[in-house]
């Protein structure tokens, strides 16, 4: 196994010594990249999708290329990084770190472009499963449980934000660091057990929390009276029926669309017909 030569940390804007592998990213560069990752989708569009965002995030690292911001290497690298790209926004930080490393390692452009293209699929599907389909609903359901248990507005809102962003920011920071560490060997980072199995465990926890949270949240939202009052019994009886109906109608109508129609009927009944 080839020994990695670690270069001393250069100041921002200074080129890395040629022929040496880059050491840790300078703190300022890393902080700048991480901050920019929060705006990675700022120019998301149907032409190049997230391409401009990747270029925007990688750019601070590219300043360390020979010649700095006025050099040909910088311009060529920035042009490459702004091409079409798509990935989950949080896991895109893995790509940002790995691509920055590959550029500073002066990887041949053809190899780098192939690597860049290959990243899109895995980073998209893994991020969707981990964040949108597991972590986000799990945090929402914990917030609903807090509400159901009687927590106040500050506790519910901050509880949700702290919990969600602990995962969110950790994922982005880990991604940037792991991407930089592994470079073109990113597959080993993507194969991490917690990343592959995480969605499954989070989804199971979320399902259990959901089951407990919904009755408590519904009970509090109708006023929290005795559970044998007619309205409480109606909620207990009708909610599962509506839920099952919506599952059966999956793909034909969304729940929020159906609810809008039902509420429109309720308004009509209560204001005109009643």
């Amino acid at each position: 196994m080839a020994e990695t030569v670690v270069a001393p940390t250069p100041p921002t804007g200074a080129p890395l010594p040629t022929g040496m592998r880059p050491g840790p990213l300078p703190v300022g560069t890393r902080a700048s990249m991480l901050l920019r990752c929060l705006a990675i989708q700022g120019a998301w569009n149907y032409e190049i999708l997230n391409g401009n965002g990747i270029g925007f995030c990688v750019e601070p690292a590219l300043r360390h290329l020979p010649g700095g911001v006025d050099g040909d290497a910088y311009r060529a690298a920035l042009a490459r990084q702004c091409a079409y790209f798509n990935a989950h926004p949080y896991l895109a930080s893995l790509a940002v770190g790995a691509l920055a490393r590959a550029e500073l390692d002066q990887t041949p452009p053809e190899k780098l472009v192939r690597f860049r293209t290959a990243l899109c699929g895995p980073l998209g599907s893994l991020g969707d499963r981990l964040v949108w389909a597991a972590w986000l609903p799990a945090c929402s359901l914990v917030a609903l449980l807090l509400f159901g248990l009687g927590a106040g507005p500050a506790m519910v809102a901050f509880g949700f934000l702290v919990l969600y962003n602990a995962g969110h920011l950790a994922l982005r920071a880990w991604g940037l660091g792991a991407g930089w560490l592994h470079g073109l060997r990113l597959a080993s980072a993507l194969g991490a057990n917690w990343l592959q199995r995480g969605p499954q465990y989070i989804a199971r926890g979320a399902a259990l929390v959901a089951g407990v949270a919904l009755p408590f949240a519904a009970h509090r939202a109708i006023g929290g009276g005795a559970s044998l009052e007619p309205v409480s019994l109606a909620v207990m009886a009708c909610t599962p029926v509506l839920g099952v109906l919506l599952v059966r109608l999956h793909g034909k109508v969304e729940g929020w669309q159906l609810l809008f129609g039902l509420l429109a009927l309720l308004v009509l009944y209560s204001t005109v017909l009643h």
């Binding site: 925007f56 939202a221 929020w256």
Partner: protein, 234 residues
């Protein structure tokens, strides 16, 4: 009439920032209804009622998975509209005034739906800007990359503000009318709304978390435990 006493400008700024959070920056989920409607309620001096409106909207948002290029409801700015309209007349109580709550949820749904379209238009607009800059980008122009990013973020901020304004312009008078004309009892109205929101949430959990073994069984077991505990507590 618009809620001028609310100080419209801060409300529009809130709608803009929360609209921006959905996709562009920083995706910290301050745009989730349970946070956004609570914030909007706080702007109107009705934080607790804002939370309850947010809980109903959060149940609906559970169904929405914001996958990449697909069109999905934009709940950030919509929750500001829903939070303000839904807490009208709450007078510091935990539970919103029933008619306002119903109109607030409807206003949020409509605004979220329209917001989904405005996000598509926003992406098309940036694509147009990107198309005319492709040569400069291929030349590695940092200035072009930065400007496209700034234009995109700014346009998204304006999108959120405009959406919030439009939603309030339409929903505020409607809520005033509904509050005066509402005849159904408060308990029945709240019950109907909660059945709808909780039903959507239950189906969303069933659909979203279906991909892994035992999740549905865990959900049903949790429902049974939760229902019994609520019964014992009541």
């Amino acid at each position: 009439m618009l809620p001028l006493t609310l100080d419209l400008l801060p409300v529009l700024v809130l709608g803009a920032i929360l609209g921006l959070d959905v996709v562009s920056f920083p995706q910290a989920m301050i745009s989730r209804p349970i946070v956004a409607a609570t914030l909007a309620g706080a702007f109107a001096g009705q934080t607790a009622a804002g939370l309850v409106v947010g809980v109903a909207l959060e149940c609906l948002a559970l169904e929405t998975l914001p996958f990449g290029a697909s069109r999905y409801p934009e709940w950030g700015s919509a929750s500001v509209v829903g939070g303000l309209v839904g807490t009208r007349g709450a007078d510091g109580a935990l539970l919103p005034e029933p008619a306002a709550w119903v109109i607030g949820v409807m206003a949020a749904i409509a605004t979220a739906w329209l917001g989904g379209w405005t996000m598509v238009w926003h992406r098309r607009l940036i694509a147009r800007w990107a198309r005319v800059r492709l040569d400069a980008m291929a030349g590695g122009s940092m200035r072009t990359v930065m400007s496209l990013q700034v234009y995109g973020l700014t346009a998204d901020l304006l999108r959120g503000a405009a959406l919030t304004l439009l939603g309030l312009l339409l929903a505020w008078p409607a809520s005033g009318w509904a509050v005066n004309a509402w005849r159904l009892g408060a308990t029945e109205t709240r019950g109907a709304l909660v059945i709808g929101a909780a039903g959507v949430a239950a189906s969303a959990v069933w659909k979203v978390l279906h991909g892994y073994s035992v999740t549905r069984r865990l959900f049903v077991a949790g429902l049974a435990v939760g229902t019994v505990l609520v019964g014992l507590r009541g």
